[in-house]
């Protein structure tokens, strides 16, 4: 209903991305976002979307360890950079402590915002192994969740942080 920008039909770009530790070759239209390339061209549908406008945090992935909204990131900008998604978090069938904590402590209800929250939390815990509750809330404030009311998300991250510290 609103005016739609004409999509210029340019030839696909072809490049290498490092996704979850693996080099992948992928060919896609140059205007595609990282979100679209992950979901549509690489079949990594674990990364979800809630608005495609950078408003909800659902599509957060890690690029060179930093949480980034994949809906606002052009995939061609990610050439040669390391992209981490929810699919890369477990080691084999062994869950990452964040994944286990979210599953056990109510951090995930419908599960739709979960990948984005977990990736954001991972970036936090990789840098700050023992964050306060306030710090956790601050770090995840860009990830909207409509189910949990956040309390159990914060608790899950606390549980995971504790687990990760004890494993070190």
């Amino acid at each position: 209903m609103s005016a739609v920008a004409r999509v210029e039909h340019r030839p696909n770009v072809h490049l290498s991305l490092r996704v979850n530790g693996e080099e992948v070759e992928v060919s896609f239209a140059p205007y595609k976002t990282l979100l679209e390339v992950l979901r549509e061209d690489l079949g990594l549908t674990g990364t979800k979307h809630g608005c495609e406008l950078g408003e909800c945090g659902t599509c957060a992935v890690l690029v060179d360890g930093e949480p980034l909204l994949s809906c606002l990131t052009l995939a061609i900008e990610c050439e040669g950079r390391s992209v981490e998604t929810i699919e890369g978090l477990a080691r084999g069938t062994e869950l990452h402590p964040l994944q286990a904590a979210f599953a056990d402590h109510g951090g995930s209800q419908c599960g739709y915002c979960t990948p984005g929250v977990i990736m954001t939390a991972k970036a936090l815990l990789d840098r700050e192994p023992n964050p306060s509750r306030e710090r956790i809330k601050e770090a995840t404030a860009g990830n909207l969740c409509r189910c949990t009311g956040y309390n159990q998300i914060v608790e899950s991250i606390e549980h995971a942080a504790k687990e990760m510290r004890s494993c070190k």
């Binding site: 005016a3 999509v7 674990g46 929810i86 404030a141 409509r146 189910c147 009311g149």
Partner: protein, 811 residues
């Protein structure tokens, strides 16, 4: 008990944290094409012509559909079949779908949609219920009661005029509850495909695959047996995915025409247009009380802004009143409700469905009553809570109730007695209570079949598979199913496979709405599991040389009560049962008990059980900015028994969160563009950034007390937890703000500007209140008169009441 009541990882927990749970938009099929809808830019217009020729010729386009392709109307309720998949002669709100394009990709479909030429003849638009009542000549629909009134009803349970006349005080308040929307994180998506067997499969984010199945058969004019609806896991729903939706009809039709899979995913903006959210409700509440704070009667009038279509409206209209008498003893009750059409996205069911609005009004009014009578609001409520196994004035049967315990508990854990009217200026606490149903007692369409069916399959491998039409919307319904079956069979939820929400494979369940899943699905699962258990026990008893009544199933073992050495594994016992009885399985089903009310309309409100909540909110108000901070919330919820306490607590906190958002910021509001911009009635904020919701930084810590008072109608006594805990939050916030700064904000959301305006009135010595001033004249019908149970009634309408005629609707 080994499973029920124990904190466990939910059965679908792992898939969600590893990114393997497949939501609708995660699905893809070979040869799949993509669909986009063209939506109306006008709030109210006649479609004079649609020219799709340029769109059809656009490269990459496979199909263009318009209203001509959808002659059959649909709707969730049989009395409100007022939608077409694509508008035919008329559009009724900005965002009403007009045409659909199916193309090789979304971008091409969008480009082609721009090439569709629609000629509209603009019609006057109706923005508010007041306008709808004042302008019956601008008729949005040609059905309904009259003009723009969709539903109009009135009931009187006992002579309320007399009850008010005899009261020591009558409190007369008008409240307004602004509309708001579900805002699920997952945008609705659907994938339709004609399978190899020639049948249609629609995988879609729906809460109610069964009702959708019926409506698809209707719209597509196909036997339902040729259609399979798979409810994909919903990425949040909250009522917003209950209605059969236009896009679901469109992709199904397109897949049938093209013979190719057709997918659609709504944009976030479109989700705001799909809406079906909280009705804006204006209400007037006249309540008689004795000097010691007991209710003598209530006259409740509501006016609902329904938006452009019927949706669940007929039910929503009832729900703005019918559950009001469930919390406190109310000897007489008069309830008038009117739903009108307006040119805005349709309103429907959102968490609490129609009940939060009058609950807000009643609980704020009770706070005013307590203030005036110098009573403690908690003690005043405690003295008049409804009793277990009692009837209400409108003939609802209350089973168990833990409301008194909820109040006692929340008063204790919040430190209420040391805080209420005692905190320093700018800080306050507010209390409110509520009740909610555990499943609607009557199906959306009239039938006498079960509300829920469960099938269990077992075999010699020991695997247990549960099949049920229930829909996992994040609330944990799959886990409830697994837990109940595991508990009955003495195994772990890890040993149970759950398959749900698939009309092609699973027995009918009506869906995930009205907080019905735990009770109805749970009871059906208990019956099926019990039947299978009987077979296993009979086979094992023979082998163990004991009586069937002495066989115990526990922790994956089957053994004799008298000698635990007489034992075998669960797997061995299942193999014995298969040997003895042949292929193993059982079905279970559930229908709610018959409700005592016999009058027409008595079908809305009855439930097998009711949950109860009591909530205390602490609030801090900055007198300079009006900014409201909520540092802490305490809530006690009577859920009968928790099946999984981690997730029961999660449901409660999630409800509190959503209620707090509705109290402080969430609103789905519209504005009129200036005349030079067509005067269109447009959504003010169709984006997640502008539709304000609470973030992790705003959200207070919630202290939850789960009150367990098992209800005999419920599986292991478990009642609902998904909706009830939202209800008391909004009024508790309003009451806390009053305790903090002495102002009454009688409309939601309570924003800083309203608080400041009220504080300014207070400073001027005027009544420190912000809220609607008056209730408009609504042409309610003469009420149907029913005597309450304690006045000798039998639950039927009293046709020729031997009483003086009650006054006509007050205006």
């Amino acid at each position: 008990m080994q499973v029920v009541g124990k904190a466990r990882r939910r059965v679908d927990g792992r898939a969600k944290v590893v990114g393997q749970l497949r939501f609708a938009d995660d699905l893809a099929l070979p040869r799949m094409v993509h669909c986009k809808l063209l939506r109306s830019p006008h709030a109210h217009a006649e479609i004079e012509s649609i020219d799709i020729s340029r769109a059809e010729m656009h490269p990459g386009v496979h199909l263009v559909l318009t209203g001509k392709d959808f002659p059959i109307p649909f709707g969730i309720m049989p009395v409100a079949l007022d939608e077409h998949a694509l508008a035919r002669e008329r559009v009724r709100f900005v965002g009403d779908p007009v045409a659909a394009v199916v193309a090789k990709d979304e971008a091409t479909a969008l480009e082609a949609a721009e090439r569709i030429e629609v000629k509209y003849r603009l019609l006057p638009t109706i923005a508010t219920p007041q306008e709808a009542l004042a302008h019956p000549e601008t008729r949005i629909h040609d059905y309904g009661e009259q003009g723009n009134i969709h539903r109009n009803q009135a009931y009187e349970f006992g002579d309320v005029a007399e009850a008010l006349a005899k009261a020591d005080h009558v409190f007369d308040d008008v409240f307004f509850y602004e509309g708001n929307t579900h805002l699920p994180m997952e945008q609705q998506a659907s994938l339709a495909a004609v399978e190899g067997d020639g049948k249609l499969t629609l995988s879609t984010s729906t809460q109610n695959p069964h009702y959708l199945h019926r409506q698809l058969a209707r719209v597509l004019q196909m036997p339902a047996s040729q259609i399979r609806v798979i409810a994909t896991p919903n990425g949040g729903a909250f009522g917003g995915k209950c209605d059969p939706a236009n896009h679901e009809m469109v992709v199904s039709k397109a897949a049938l025409i093209l013979g190719r899979p057709v997918k659609i995913c709504l944009t976030r903006e479109e989700v705001f247009y799909q809406h079906r959210g909280r009705h804006p409700v204006l209400m007037r509440m006249r309540t008689g009380v004795t000097k010691d704070g007991r209710l003598t009667g209530m006259h409740l009038q509501t006016l609902l802004d329904g938006g452009a279509y019927g949706s669940h409206g007929p039910a929503s209209t009832f729900y703005t009143g019918v559950l009001t008498p469930v919390t406190y003893e109310l000897p007489r009750f008069r309830f008038e409700a009117c739903r009108v059409f307006t040119n805005k996205p349709p309103c429907g069911p959102k968490r609490g469905h129609g009940t939060p609005q009058p609950r807000f009004g009643q609980e704020v009014q009770l706070d005013k009553i307590a203030e005036k009578l110098r009573l403690d609001p908690a003690e005043m409520r405690m003295r008049m809570v409804t009793k277990a196994d009692s009837l209400t004035a409108n003939w609802l049967k209350i089973g168990s109730t833990g409301l008194a315990e909820c109040i006692r508990k929340v008063v204790e854990i919040s430190g209420w007695k040391d805080k209420h009217r005692k905190l320093p200026a700018g800080r306050g606490v507010g209390l409110a209570c509520s009740a909610y149903m555990c499943g609607a007692g009557v199906s959306i369409y009239w039938n006498k079949m079960p509300h829920s069916g469960v099938q269990l399959l077992l075999d010699r491998s020991g695997q247990v598979t549960v099949l049920c039409g229930a829909t996992e919307i994040g609330q944990g319904s799959d886990d409830v199913l697994a837990a109940i079956v595991a508990e009955v069979l003495g195994i772990s939820t890890v040993d149970v496979r759950v398959l749900t929400g698939d009309t092609g494979l699973t027995p009918v369940d009506l869906g995930s709405y009205s907080s019905r899943v735990t009770v109805m699905v749970g009871n059906a699962a208990m019956q099926a599991a019990g039947r299978v258990r009987d077979l296993i026990v009979a086979a094992a008893a023979e082998q163990l040389d004991t009586l069937p009544g002495r066989v115990i199933l526990s922790q994956g073992r089957v053994f004799a009560a008298e000698d635990s050495n007489k034992a075998m594994s669960f797997v061995e016992a299942v193999a014995l049962a298969e040997t003895k009885f042949g292929t193993l399985g059982a079905v279970g089903s559930y229908s709610p008990p018959k409700a005592p009310g016999r009058y027409k309309g008595a079908g809305v409100g009855p439930s097998p059980a009711y949950s109860f909540s009591a909530c205390v909110v602490e609030a801090e108000v900055d007198p300079d900015t009006g900014w409201i901070t909520v540092p802490r919330i305490w809530i006690a919820h009577d859920l009968g028994r928790s099946i999984n306490p981690v997730h029961a607590r999660g449901q409660v906190i999630g409800g509190v969160y959503m209620g707090l958002g509705e109290a402080l910021m969430e609103e789905q509001v519209f504005r009129r563009l200036p005349p030079k911009l067509s005067s269109a009635l447009v959504h003010r904020i169709p984006s997640m950034l502008e539709y304000k919701s609470i973030t992790s930084l705003d959200m207070p810590e919630v202290e939850v007390a789960l009150i367990e008072d098992p209800d005999p109608n419920c599986p292991f006594g478990a009642k609902e937890a998904g909706q009830g805990p939202l209800l008391p939050v909004m009024p508790a916030v309003a009451n806390a703000i009053h305790d903090a700064v002495g102002v009454r904000i009688d409309e939601l959301p309570i924003t800083p500007d309203k608080v400041l305006a009220a504080l300014a009135l207070k400073a001027q010595g005027k009544e420190p209140r912000i809220g609607p001033e008056k209730f408009p004249h609504v042409p309610y019908p003469q009420p149907m008169f029913v005597l309450p149970p304690w006045e000798g009634g039998d639950g039927n309408e009293l046709k020729k009441p031997a009483r003086k005629t009650a006054g006509v609707a007050a205006s």
